[in-house]
Subunit: 306 residues, 2 copies
């Protein structure tokens, strides 16, 4: 199996309480592709960049087995750029600059080499763009995973609803789940979102972990408490990438496998936040992943006799 | 073994998005005592109430095996009263009224019948009052559990530090842990708090669960996602009461037992929030507790093969 990723390939400039970066490689699809490569899963990215995008960054992806045929280069355009400053709690941030650039008129093109991808991960983009990807695929993928955000709920509700109705797994944060459903209780929110289409609802809670809802069942995983959260950028995308990659690897999409996939996603995300940008993600070894998964086991295992 | 509880016995008037109450029985020590009774653990409360405190409420505690000899009644005084309104997210609230009343000059008196308590749970009060309890005990209890809050960090830092230095287990929320330690990372915060005295640091995160830190080890438990969070009042106190009661029952204070105790506390707290005030807590059966603990197991158990 292989994973098709649609999302931004971008530049970020990040400021945290611990330091700041110049323009560095970022974007949801970048983190997802790198996470797939760490998991030894074949992936391909559909995205668009400008003439300013360095060959070096494209090589990085290719060398790690990420198919970049679907990354269109618009020579006269500029790559999407985001700049943000994290607050001291590292859980909130101010956006300083958003230059949408070539992403504004993003018209996704799926290369033939990726038409047979069984798992499609739609990174956070305009839901109309996400829908167009589904339409451009010759066969519907076996699993469609959707990432979205409150911005599209505010500005593109109807088309978002259509996209959600065609989704198998949706990943959103707790506030977005509440906004999407109009329910405060996350259990009730998940029920309403199930009714909109997705069989699986993943609610991301950042430093508080994640929840998975499916047919009245729920799984919860805390985030690994880390001594040093250096830079949260890309953590959510790494999570999604690790999650999807595990499913591709196991070729199974049931609740139990999704639970494991969430652990893998959380484990990978816990690396990403240790350094700026994609720096740490690129270095991860299989031994480190196993060790971190064991830490999650230790973190959450208990026995009670009452 | 038995549990000595020092804390408020009070009236609350509560408003949530789902309804409101008149003055009802509340106070940290009340929730803790009731949690102990649910766990079949002998407990006694040291507190103070006014002449307005109904005999009926005192009977309720006595009938459930909570020793009330240490609850002083100041006939001419009025019982502590708190009134608050929860926001829609049920995670934040506004205090509408705080009438400290007889609690203002609370001078705890430990009845002889409770001098031999092996576990002391000091509910959230002025740290000077908490310290005076320790001084009034003929023998230091085997385990001292401290609940405190940011208010005392702002107003009584030095005496709080003295109290903390004499504490075995401290329970605070995440923001308080950050304030107490001056560290944003909860791992670092726990380390600094260990150095202040407590061997065990419990960080309560409300709807996001709790963390337990001990000698470089960490345990994390999510809260049980509930369809209906009706009224969060007393959840933290129920948690502390269930936690302490389990330790009393097991007569063991090591990391593994504390992990189990946190599950029990979380399970009991998940009942408390289902109805107003102490209503649900009073009804819990042993079968329900076992069932809820099994739910926590289901909620958090996973297998991963990478």
């Amino acid at each position: 199996m292989k994973l098709l990723v649609v999302g931004s390939v971008a530049f970020d400039a990040i400021e945290t309480p611990f330091g700041k970066t110049d323009k560095i490689l970022g974007g949801a699809a970048t983190y997802i592709g790198l996470a797939a490569s760490v998991m030894n899963v074949k992936s391909g990215i559909v995205s668009v960049v400008g003439g300013d995008f360095p060959q070096e960054d494209m090589d990085l992806l290719n060398n790690r087995g990420v198919n970049t045929e679907g990354i269109e280069i618009i020579k006269e355009g500029k790559t999407f750029f985001w700049s943000g400053r994290y607050h001291n709690d590292l859980n909130t941030r101010d956006t300083l600059v958003t230059e949408v650039n070539v992403l504004e008129h993003f018209d996704p093109k799926i290369p033939d080499s990726m038409q047979d991808a069984e798992v499609l991960l739609l990174g956070n983009l305009h839901p109309g763009v996400q829908l167009s990807v589904l339409e451009k695929m010759n066969h519907r993928p076996k699993l469609v995973i959707l990432d979205t955000m409150n911005f599209w709920m505010d500005t593109a509700w109807e088309v978002l609803m259509e996209m959600v109705s065609k989704t198998d797994v949706i990943t959103i944060n707790d506030e977005e789940a509440r906004q999407l459903s109009g329910e405060y209780s996350l259990v009730k929110a998940a029920k309403k979102i199930h009714a909109m289409g997705p069989e699986f609802v993943i609610i991301k809670k950042g430093e508080h972990g994640a929840l998975l809802f499916h047919e009245g069942k729920v799984f919860a995983i805390p985030a690994l408490p880390l001594e040093e959260v250096f830079d949260p950028t890309g953590a959510g995308d790494t999570f999604a990438g690790g999650f999807a990659s595990y499913l591709v690897k196991k070729e199974t999409f049931d609740f139990e496998t999704m639970k494991s996939a969430i652990i893998v996603g959380s484990a990978l995300a816990s690396f990403t936040v240790e350094k700026f940008g994609t720096e740490r993600l690129k270095e991860i070894t299989p031994a480190e992943i196993s060790e971190r998964i064991a830490q999650f086991k230790d973190l959450t295992t208990f026995e009670v006799e009452v």
